[in-house]
C-alpha cells in the first residue's frame, strides 16, 4: 500500500477543506489525490491491491455525530444520513415497514461485519468487482488507466454487464442499495465548494460511454451527506430479489428492486430497477410503462421482462444473464403482487 497523509474531520467543512488541500488542481474526481474514508470496506481493499493510491486520506467517521449519522422518518419523507451504517438502516423498524425494498437491499448485501462497517454514502460509491479492474497486473483497463483498453471485452466476462455497456467498459455496478434508491426516485444531498446541493439519485452515476474512469457526477471533494426518499403508494409493496452464485455473502448475478401500486390486480404504478446486469444502477422505465393499467398476470410480467432486456448486449460468457435477469424480474414482480400489505 502506498503511504498517505491521514487526518480525521468531525465536521463537513473541515472534511472538505482537508480533502481539497491535497487536491486543489484536480479537474475531476478520477484525478483526485484525496479520498474520504468511512467504513473502508472498498477503499482499504483497493489500496492494498494498488488500484487506489490516494496521497491523502480524510477519515470522516466522526461525521456520524452530525446529521449525517441520523435516520429520520417524518411526514412522508425518509432521510438516511450518509454516515449511517448498512446494518443500522436495514434493521430500522420504519425502513422495514414502509420501504421494504431498501431494508432488503441492504440486508442481502455483504456480510454482517461489512454491514456494520460500510456507510450508505460509501456503499453507493463502491467500485466494480471486475477482476481486470482489481488486478493491476492487467495493463488494459479503461477504468483504472484511461485509454488503456478493456481486457474484459474478450476475457472471462461471466460476471460482466449486459446493459449500459460501451466498447470501452463492460464492468458491472456491484451494489444492491442503489437499485432500491433509483427505483424509488431518491434524492441525494451533496456538500461541496458552494455548500449543499441536491440531485436525483439517477443523476449520480455516469454510464461508462467513452469515459469509464468517470463513475459519478460528483466534483472533486464533494461529499454525499444524505439520501431522501418520499413515501408513495408503491413503497410498501416493494421488495429486493437477489440471485447469486452462493446463497449469502455474494454479489448479484442478477437482482431486481420492484415496487408496485395495485388497484386489485391492475397496476397503477410500477417501479423497476435492475442490478448485477448493468454498468450503473439501472432503472427500467420502458418495462414500468409496459405494466401501466395492465393486469399483473404472467403475460404482462413476461412482456415487462422482455422489454427490460430488449437492449441487452451480452458477450461470450455472460449471455446467460439475459434469461436470468428476465426470470429474476418476473419472480420479483409476482412476489410483489402477492405481498400482503
Amino acid at each position: 500500500m502506498q503511504s498517505f497523509q491521514f487526518s480525521r474531520s468531525g465536521d463537513l467543512q473541515s472534511a472538505y477543506s482537508a480533502y481539497r488541500t491535497a487536491d486543489a488542481e484536480a479537474a475531476d474526481a478520477a484525478h483526485s489525490h484525496s479520498q474520504y474514508l468511512a467504513g473502508g470496506t472498498t477503499l482499504l481493499d483497493l489500496m492494498k491491491l494498488g488500484v487506489m493510491r490516494p496521497e491523502r486520506v480524510v477519515d470522516i467517521n466522526d461525521l456520524d455525530r452530525t446529521n449525517a449519522g441520523l435516520v429520520e422518518f417524518a411526514g412522508n419523507r425518509l432521510q438516511l444520513g450518509a454516515l449511517t451504517r448498512m446494518s443500522d438502516v436495514s434493521d430500522h423498524p420504519d425502513v422495514r415497514r414502509e420501504f421494504p425494498v431498501i431494508a432488503q437491499s441492504l440486508q442481502l448485501a455483504a456480510s454482517a461485519q461489512i454491514r456494520n462497517m460500510a456507510s450508505l454514502g460509501g456503499n453507493v460509491l463502491q467500485r466494480t468487482r471486475c477482476s481486470y479492474f482489481r488486478d493491476t497486473s492487467y495493463s488494459n483497463c479503461n477504468k483504472r488507466e484511461p485509454g488503456s483498453g478493456c481486457a474484459a471485452l474478450d476475457g472471462i466476462n461471466r460476471p460482466h454487464a449486459i446493459l449500459g455497456t460501451s466498447e470501452r467498459c463492460i464492468a458491472t455496478y456491484p451494489g444492491d442499495f442503489a437499485q432500491a434508491l433509483i427505483a424509488l426516485d431518491a434524492q441525494v444531498e451533496v456538500m461541496g465548494r458552494n455548500g449543499s446541493r441536491e440531485l436525483p439519485f439517477a443523476k449520480l452515476h455516469r454510464p461508462p460511454g467513452q469515459t469509464p474512469h468517470l463513475e459519478t457526477t460528483l466534483a472533486p471533494g464533494e461529499l454525499i451527506t444524505a439520501f431522501r426518499i418520499t413515501r408513495a403508494p408503491f413503497t410498501r409493496r416493494s421488495l429486493f430479489l437477489k440471485v447469486r452464485d452462493r446463497e449469502s455473502y455474494e454479489f448479484a448475478l442478477a437482482s431486481a428492486a420492484v415496487a408496485l401500486d395495485l388497484n386489485g390486480d391492475i397496476v397503477k404504478q410500477a417501479r423497476i430497477a435492475l442490478g448485477g446486469v448493468a454498468t450503473v444502477p439501472w432503472r427500467a422505465h420502458e418495462a414500468e410503462a409496459s405494466l401501466f393499467n395492465r393486469r399483473l398476470d404472467d403475460t404482462a410480467v413476461r412482456h415487462a421482462a422482455d422489454v427490460a432486456f430488449a437492449d441487452a448486449r451480452p458477450r461470450q460468457h455472460n449471455a446467460f444473464k439475459v434469461e436470468l435477469g428476465k426470470r429474476t424480474l418476473m419472480r420479483a414482480l409476482r412476489q410483489a403482487g402477492d405481498m400482503e400489505i
Binding site: 480525521r8 470496506t41 454482517a112 462497517m117
Partner: protein
C-alpha cells in the same frame, strides 16, 4: 481540521522519540512493554509514525505506527495479540473479526488510526480473568465446531456478536448472519450447533 501529531512530527524515527511516546502514560501498556521484534521494525520504518491510543480487552495501548497499519496488524504484530487471524486480508473471510465498541467488524479493513480512542474486544478478551471460557468458546469445544482452527477466533467473536444482535433465533438466521465467516474445513453444521447451545447459556449468564 484537527491536526494529527503525524503532521507535526518530522520524518524519521529515533529510539529517543520512540521512548518519549511510549512514556505518555505509565498506567497503560506502551509498545516498549512488548519485547517483540515488531518494535525494531517500527524503528527502521522510513515513514513518520502516527500515534494512536486504543483500548483492547480493557487495556489501554499507546501505539506509534506507520499510518497504513491495519487494526489487525496492530493487534498481532505490535500488541502481540495473535488470536485474531489474517486469512485473506481483503475482507472476504472473516478470520480477523473483532468487536469495535461492541460491533463486529473486520480488523483487516480497518486502519488502526481510524479506531483511535475506541474499545476493541478480541478473542483474547472473551474468557474470564480466572480462565473460565466464554459460553461460546466452551460450546465450540463441546460441539467440535472446527477442524484446523484457523477461522475459529473470528467465528467465535462473530458468533458472540450474532447472539447479542438477536440474529441467532433460527438455524437459518445463524447461517445467514454468520456467512461472513468462512470455514474451509466446512465445520458449519457444528458451528450452528455450538451457537445454539451458547445462545441459551449466554441468556442464563
Amino acid at each position: 481540521m484537527p491536526s494529527t501529531k503525524h503532521d507535526k512530527q518530522k520524518p524519521g524515527w529515533s529510539r529517543r522519540n520512540f521512548l518519549v511516546t511510549s512514556m505518555v502514560s505509565t498506567m497503560s501498556v506502551s509498545l516498549l512493554d512488548q519485547p517483540s521484534a515488531s518494535a525494531a521494525s517500527i524503528a527502521t520504518d522510513p515513514h513518520a509514525p502516527h500515534t494512536t491510543t486504543i483500548n483492547v480487552n480493557g487495556q489501554r495501548y499507546h501505539l506509534a505506527l506507520d499510518v497504513r497499519t491495519t487494526l489487525l496488524d496492530a493487534l498481532r504484530d505490535h500488541i502481540g495479540l495473535t488470536g485474531s487471524k489474517k486469512g485473506c486480508d481483503h475482507g472476504q473471510c472473516g478470520a480477523c473479526t473483532v468487536m469495535v465498541n461492541d460491533r463486529r467488524v473486520l480488523s483487516c479493513l480497518t486502519l488502526a488510526a481510524s479506531v483511535d480512542g475506541r474499545n476493541i474486544t478480541t478473542i483474547e478478551g472473551l474468557s474470564q480473568a480466572d480462565g473460565t471460557l466464554h459460553p461460546m468458546q466452551q460450546a465450540f469445544i463441546d460441539h467440535d465446531a472446527f477442524q484446523c482452527g484457523y477461522c475459529t477466533p473470528g467465528q467465535i467473536v462473530s458468533a458472540v456478536a450474532c447472539v447479542k444482535e438477536g440474529h441467532a433465533g433460527t438455524d437459518a438466521d445463524i447461517r445467514e448472519y454468520m456467512s461472513g465467516n468462512l470455514c474451509r474445513c466446512a465445520a458449519y453444521p457444528n458451528i450452528v450447533e455450538a451457537i445454539n447451545q451458547a445462545k441459551t447459556r449466554m441468556k442464563e449468564a
